[in-house]
Symmetry: C2
Subunit: 200 residues, 2 copies
DNA sequence: ACCCCAGGTTGACAGTGTCAACAGAGTGCT
DNA sequence: AGCACTCTGTTGACACTGTCAACCTGGGGT
């Protein structure tokens, strides 16, 4: 109907919006196209297939999340632990707002190599994690150890947040996901400090 | 062809086998039925629908995993940290062997309430986690705190193992998932001990 | 004038989950 | 015996999905 200069981005944003409500595997290209007022084949023209489309969606969403997280970390000051908390909080908010998007990004429906934008966004996010976690390490920690702790920290946050978002944590546990994540991060932090002064 | 006393369990085990190769969302009831030599509607008779079938698959798989984990913990002795390591190792082996099954269990395609067997298996696994983690806590830790640490520990292990299984941890990190999980658990453990002797 | 081509269309195909109606084999009741 | 009824399974149809192929179409470039 209208000029519609960029149908592709309209489809992407529509998909991101739909992902707030339903999981990625029951997202239909045809329905998206119909809802956008174009034929069922229009998305295929732009993206080549469903996998590529989902990869583009994931890339866009992750890019946005990385920007939000970077902004949250930047506005909080210089204290390393405070910055780590800000980063983790941003991640938790992201998962709370768009759990299905995270499932898509880390899920089996999309290969990270499919789309350079997705890979780039993942790298940007990882770099942010790395810098923030590295700043929390005691002096003298080897780079290899820092990398391992980055991965472990990120897995920790991701795991707790996802399990909680999926309501897989028993109701008997007296805490919400924000508290759980924060406490786990604090525990890891104290463990790092203890190790630096401990034996061997 | 044959007497086929229990077609249902044959379908379930076939599905579990198929899950070792492909993810749950591209598992087809019709293909499973055809491969089992029955009509495309036979699975529907037994399970009522795809969601219920997947719930049954998840329940069976998780039950098996819980049994394996319990056996691994039981055969390792009495030291709490050793038992925790055994539990975690069993979980990591489970994820390595059947990553798609875990995606199914914790994924959006199945609601835990759909099938009592799944819920029961999840509870059994959680109880095992709870007992093992609780035994690692310093004396005087409140039960609420223990529960929070259980959830955090389990999220940690799950997150690292899943991220690693999906190759989402950058190649620059010099460790495999087993090492990462073990080190994270050790760090958490030391954090627990440090907190018990620390301030307030 | 011509061609071309990116963007979009229609039409078809195989595969999927699901619903409805039906068929046979036990099984128990009268 | 006869009959009804439930289990287990079948066939046929439907709507929906992703994808392939071919066709249109309007605006530039030569």
């Amino acid at each position: 109907m209208a000029a519609d200069p960029e149908l592709a981005v309209r489809l992407l944003t529509a998909a991101l919006e739909a992902l707030k409500e339903e999981s990625a595997d029951r997202l239909s290209l045809r329905r998206l196209a119909q809802h956008a007022g174009v034929s069922h084949q229009a998305p295929y023209v732009h993206f080549g297939g469903k996998r590529e489309f989902l990869a583009a969606v994931a890339g866009r969403g992750l890019h946005q999340a990385a920007n939000d997280a970077a902004a949250a970390v930047a506005e909080v000051g210089d204290d390393p632990l405070t910055r780590l908390h800000a980063l983790v909080d941003a991640y938790v908010r992201f998962i709370e707002a768009q759990p299905h998007l995270l499932d898509l990004v880390y899920g089996p429906m999309v290969a990270k190599d499919d789309h350079p934008a997705l890979q780039e966004a993942a790298i940007a996010y990882w770099d942010l994690v790395h810098d923030t976690v590295a700043a929390c390490q005691p002096a003298g920690t080897s780079e290899a150890e820092v990398l391992r702790r980055c991965a472990a920290t990120w897995g920790t946050v991701y795991g707790i947040a996802r399990l909680s978002a999926l309501r897989q944590i028993p109701a008997s546990v007296p805490a919400d996901q924000g508290e759980l994540v924060r406490e786990a991060v604090d525990t890891l932090y104290e463990g790092w400090q203890a190790r630096s002064t401990g034996a061997s």
